[in-house]
């Protein structure tokens, strides 16, 4: 028997030992992960729907989930959650593509001002074309939308400048862009506001080179304002809702999209020692899970799947060991909560802040004293 390179490899290098044999909840496809997250490390998140779960679990696990745009204290907690404050570190909504992330950075710093005008609904309310579902009930006017956008950009700048770790989940390669200046939209115009016009908008399906270029432009801009920033890149395991690729089946288009994103993520980790890949895609989609981490719609990820991802992220990034559940408890096919499914954070009426508490005390005393004749 001759010696060969495989003889000295660890168990994780072998499919049977690390994927087929272990309980599926014990499968750990994290090869190497050199980033350390401490309790006070400021972690910011952005990306597609799946990134919302990362944000939620980080906040629940006692880590310093950095929210730069929390919403004004006069808004009650459940309202802030329903209005997308805290869903991500700033109120940008889902950022599905690398191009969208790059343009967000450029827009926040005034290097790019898309020509696209605000979208006005039939009832006269206004949407921001670059986050059309961010404001339930929409903005009351163009002026209000523009003021809110400027405040949002200020929060985005603060986030980029102050974060320690930026977690970005690559979601899609397909997007719609303005033919006028290349501005990309999170949703095709006409789906949630706006009017589709083939003379104004075009479909784009990004390839590896384009995504790597966009991400590198973003990374360069990030490091310019925050030279020590670290990045975790993941690929969303959530399949495409629909494809606009001509003649394509949505399953095939999903495979293309996720493959491209996975390759791009790997290239970025090879190019930058401060960019770290975390395999949430593999944890959810791998054969070990036998599809059990998908909800009944075969698209949304179950809470058990999210828990598996977050358990391994905490283990490798923080050293926190969370016991895996028993595999004989079949994962429930109930999708994990995300605001894209119109669900809000758990009800939790927080106490008034100091200003509101003082004002409430004053008004209550006034109301009690109304029994006296003060006319």
């Amino acid at each position: 028997m001759t010696d060969h390179p495989y003889k000295s490899l660890p168990d994780k290098a072998f499919w049977r030992r690390s994927v087929a044999r272990p309980k599926f909840s014990a499968v750990d496809p994290v090869g190497e992960f050199s980033l350390t997250i401490e309790k006070d490390t400021k972690v910011a998140t952005a990306g597609s729907c799946f990134a919302q779960h990362v944000a939620r679990h980080l906040a629940q696990s006692g880590f310093n989930y950095f929210v730069a745009e929390e919403g004004h204290p006069i808004l009650r907690g459940p309202v802030r959650a329903a209005h997308n404050y805290g869903t991500f570190s700033a109120r940008y909504g889902n950022i599905y593509t690398a191009r969208q992330l790059r343009q967000l950075m450029d827009r926040a710093y005034g290097r790019f001002s898309p020509a696209e005008a605000p979208w006005t609904d039939a009832d006269g309310t206004v949407r921001d074309p670059f986050r059309p579902t961010i404001q339930p009930g929409n903005f009351a006017s163009v002026a209000e939308m523009e003021v809110d956008r400027e405040q949002h950009f200020a929060a985005v700048r603060r986030m980029f400048e102050e974060l320690d770790v930026f977690v970005f989940t690559l979601g899609l390669t397909e997007c719609w862009e303005s033919l006028e200046d290349g501005a990309v939209f999170p949703l095709c115009p006409g789906v949630e506001g706006g009017d589709f016009d083939s003379e104004k908008y075009a479909f784009r399906n990004q390839g590896v080179a384009e995504i790597v270029e966009d991400m590198n432009a973003f990374i360069e801009a990030l490091r310019a304002v925050n030279p020590t920033a670290q990045m975790i890149v993941t690929v969303s395991p959530v399949p495409l809702m629909a494809t606009a690729t001509e003649g394509a089946h949505v399953l095939s288009a999903t495979t293309y999209s996720k493959s491209v994103l996975r390759v791009a993520a790997d290239m970025l980790t090879q190019q930058h020692d401060f960019v770290h890949y975390f395999p949430s895609f593999e944890i959810i989609t791998g054969p070990h899970a036998r599809g059990a981490y998908y909800a009944d719609d075969l698209r949304n990820v179950t809470e058990a799947g999210v828990n598996h991802v977050m358990r391994l992220l905490l283990k490798h990034a923080t050293g926190t060991i969370v016991e895996a559940p028993e595999d004989d408890e079949a994962p429930k096919a109930k999708p994990a909560k995300s605001t894209s499914q119109s669900e809000v954070a758990p009800e939790a009426e927080e106490a008034d802040d100091a200003s509101l508490a003082a004002a409430r005390a004053f008004v209550e005393v006034e109301c009690d004293e109304a029994a006296l004749d003060r006319s």
């Binding site: 309202v79 209005h83 006269g124 009351a140 405040q151 802040d353 004053f362 209550e364 006034e366 109301c367």
Partner: protein, 253 residues
């Protein structure tokens, strides 16, 4: 013509009506008008006349010719925006231009503020209003709280006394336009919720509101948020006019 009972129910804003009745300021046109402050317990002390359950029970004796007028709640806008917040904020109304200088002020989207008011009203005041509306065969309306006061000096008189220790005088007041915007949003939220059960929201009598949308000083009570008996008298007459107009519409002959 049927005789009408008109029953006002509420919290602190019921007092101007009580005083108007006591002073005989209103022309009730033969209607039997009464007012109850709904009981509540604050700091172990019972405030008010009858409990909500007692009033609900009493509503069963009313008839379809009678009117229940809710003046329940009404000061959420003051809690939110009478006193200057540590994080100064403003709201843009739909027809308002963008500010030329937004520095130092957080602009909160109107629909987010609306949602906060709606949530609070649904969980408290509107629940009580609906309970009462469904308690008997009577008709039910709700009256909006008096508009905010424009006179800062009048309001600040209250801050200069017992509230200094709370730091309210140092905080100062929110800008007048913001106080008015919050009152309007509160009414918009109320109108939306109450319309789901066909309960009409009656706005303050026109003569009590200044051209700029604040409470006419002639109707100020001697505090920061309430109106006086002269205002209460106009509310009584507004309720009398409403029920008589309903009767006329139902019996045009």
């Amino acid at each position: 013509m049927a005789e009408h009972k008109i029953l006002f129910l509420g919290d602190s804003h019921s007092h101007c009506i009580r005083d108007a009745l006591a002073q005989g300021l209103a022309d009730t046109q033969g209607c039997t008008v009464s007012v109850d402050r709904i009981q509540s317990v604050k700091n172990g002390k019972v405030i008010g006349d009858r409990s909500l359950n007692e009033i609900i029970e009493a509503c069963k004796d009313l008839t379809p010719d009678d009117l229940l007028v809710s003046v329940i709640g009404g000061n959420q806008h003051s809690v939110t925006g009478l006193v200057q917040h540590d994080v100064p904020f403003d709201i843009l109304e739909p027809d308002e231009p963008a500010p030329t200088d937004a520095s130092g002020v957080t602009y909160v989207p109107r629909s987010s503020v609306f949602a906060t008011f709606e949530r609070g009203l649904r969980s408290n005041d509107c629940q009580r209003i609906l309970q009462l509306a469904k308690a008997g065969p009577q008709q039910t309306v709700h009256m909006a709280a008096p508009p905010p006061k424009e006179d800062d000096a009048h309001i600040m008189k209250r801050f200069e006394t017992k509230f200094i220790e709370m730091g309210l005088a140092e905080r100062g007041l929110s800008p007048k336009p913001l106080r008015r915007k919050l009152w309007r949003i509160q009414n918009d939220a109320l109108r939306k919720i109450l319309s789901e059960d066909d309960i009409e929201l009656l706005m303050p009598p026109a003569e009590t509101v200044t051209e700029s949308g604040f409470l006419e000083p002639a109707f100020y009570a001697n505090d920061a948020t309430h109106a006086n008996p002269a205002y209460g008298a106009l509310l009584i007459e507004q309720a009398v006019a409403w029920i008589k107009a309903r009767q006329s519409a139902a019996n045009p002959a």
